[in-house]
């Protein structure tokens, strides 16, 4: 499984990338997309919604199952990837780049530090 070094992760198989602008970009991991299989539907939160870390804020559904997505961090949703809403299969083919889901303006930058490192996440997926 591909686990890029420069990202942070959650135990719910999501990744977080801190952008230079200070927002974080969120998506699901390679492990998550592989477990789900072909993704056919994504439901994302509205831009402007306030989310708290751990809240369920959307769904990713494959041909065979549905998985909730959780806010990895607290803040306000500032962008959603309309590309994956139109073509959910992008999440399967490119989960860390084109397949991102939302951007969140974070309230407390220290929350990022509490997330899993790539090494810790890689270990989690192997256990």
């Amino acid at each position: 499984m591909n686990v890029p070094e420069d990202l942070r992760y959650t135990a719910e198989h999501e990744w977080v990338r801190v952008e230079p602008s200070g927002v974080v970009r969120v998506g699901i991991t390679d492990f998550a997309q592989d477990s789900l299989g072909d993704i056919v539907y994504v439901q994302l939160p509205a831009v402007g919604s306030k989310v708290s870390s751990g809240d369920s804020f959307g769904e990713v559904e494959s041909t065979k199952s549905v998985s909730e997505i959780y806010a990895p961090i607290s803040g306000e949703v500032t962008a959603r990837n309309e590309g994956v809403e139109a073509s959910p299969e992008i999440i399967n083919s490119d989960p860390y780049e084109e397949g991102w889901l939302v951007e969140i303006q974070i309230a407390d930058p220290s929350e990022v530090e509490a997330l899993l490192t790539a090494a810790a996440y890689a270990e989690l997926t192997q256990s």
Binding site: G37, T63, K64, V66, E89
Partner: protein
């Protein structure tokens, strides 16, 4: 409980299959580099090969075997000639509920071969043995044979490349020889496409599998995930979901597989009564009007009242929309074109009632 494995298990593992439990067997769900959508479209557009060795096999042999089977199972073997197969049901005598749906191969008056579902084979055999006269031999041959389904518009080209019979009629079967392996080639399948099912001695399964993938016709290995989306697009029932001990053939609109005028079959009295009175609920198709994807056990609502329940639901890869089979209460008066809502995890999804299939079949 330990899961049983197909004789092709190592071939699947080498292809990077993800496995799942089906009726007590560990079978491929999908393959690396494939996935449900690619495997589904391979069958609709070219050819896919499924290992369905988990399906049961049982043999009834002896004087009057066909007449005995005909007095138990619902469909009328009198409608077909030896060398043909038939979709039929094993119903419960008292309730009319469906113990299993089965393909029956009529060899001759004294020999019938059955393909029940994996999880129900033991029970079907038990019921047949309990009812059979002493001169008949009924054997559960579940693990003696592998079953390979070769399905799709290029399936004929593929089998022809191996010199296997291909020009027989839909639902008929022929015995053939492939490198000294005797196998049965039946013009059947559960995908809605032109195709074949090969019944192969378990010990020869690997050799036959390798030959099927060794022709110039490029075939894709397909898992049971794609088999489910393909059969749902056809409105074909899956036992345990759309047919069960609680769902009769009258409710499931499977009356076409019942020989109503036969002198007897298990459940005839109770099912004939239900047919005459009209079932309290009927199986319909639903097509989503929005992006909702219906799933089994979701509630169907009309005017805010629960009017039924989804029995099978998925995303249709061909139509790119949510589709479902649902048991709808007759009292609700719904029919073709009626608008209903489905409770998709707390959200209401709008759907239109329709008669399956959802995609035009091309089996013949």
């Amino acid at each position: 409980m330990t899961l049983l494995a197909s004789p092709l298990h190592e071939r699947h593992a080498a292809l990077g299959a993800k496995f799942a439990a089906f009726g007590g067997w560990e079978m491929p769900l999908e393959y690396a580099g494939g996935g449900v959508l690619k495997e589904h479209s391979a069958v609709r557009e070219a050819v896919g090969i499924f290992d369905v060795s988990h399906l049961g096999k049982a043999r009834i042999a002896g004087a009057g075997a066909a007449a005995f089977v005909n007095s138990c199972l619902t469909n009328d073997l009198g409608r077909i000639k030896p060398g043909k197969a038939q979709y039929t049901l094993c119903c419960d005598e008292a309730s009319g509920g469906v113990v299993d749906d089965i393909i029956a191969y009529l060899h001759d008056d004294d020999h019938v071969f059955l393909i029940p579902n994996a999880a129900n084979t033991t029970e079907v055999v038990r019921r047949l043995v309990a009812a059979a006269p002493a001169e008949l031999t009924i054997t559960n041959e579940h693990r003696d044979y592998a079953v390979l389904a070769v399905q799709g518009p290029r399936s004929t080209e593929l089998l022809a490349a191996l010199g296997l019979p291909t020009d027989h009629e839909y639902m008929s079967f022929e015995t053939a020889d492939l490198d000294g392996v005797e196998l049965t080639v039946c013009r059947t399948g559960y995908t809605g496409e032109h195709g074949y099912e090969l019944v192969v001695p378990a010990g020869d399964a690997v050799a036959v599998w390798d030959r099927l993938f060794g022709t110039q016709v490029e075939a894709r290995a397909c898992g049971l995930g794609a088999r489910d989306t393909l059969r749902t697009e056809m409105g074909y029932p899956l036992h345990g979901q759309d047919l069960s001990m609680d769902i009769t053939p009258v409710q499931a609109r499977a009356g076409w597989a019942v020989g109503w005028t036969k002198p007897e079959f298990w459940g005839k009295a109770v099912l004939s009564r239900e047919k005459a009175d009209g079932p309290r609920r009927t199986l319909w198709g639903l097509v989503a009007n929005d992006r909702g994807i219906p799933r089994a056990h979701m509630q169907v609502l009309a005017a805010d009242q629960t009017v039924g329940e989804i029995t099978s639901g998925t995303f249709s890869p061909t139509r790119k929309v949510g589709i479902a089979l649902a048991l709808l209460d007759s009292a609700a008066g719904l029919g073709e074109g009626s608008q209903v809502e489905v409770d998709v995890r707390g959200r209401r999804s709008s759907m239109t009632v329709t008669k399956p299939p959802f995609v035009t079949p091309s089996v013949k």
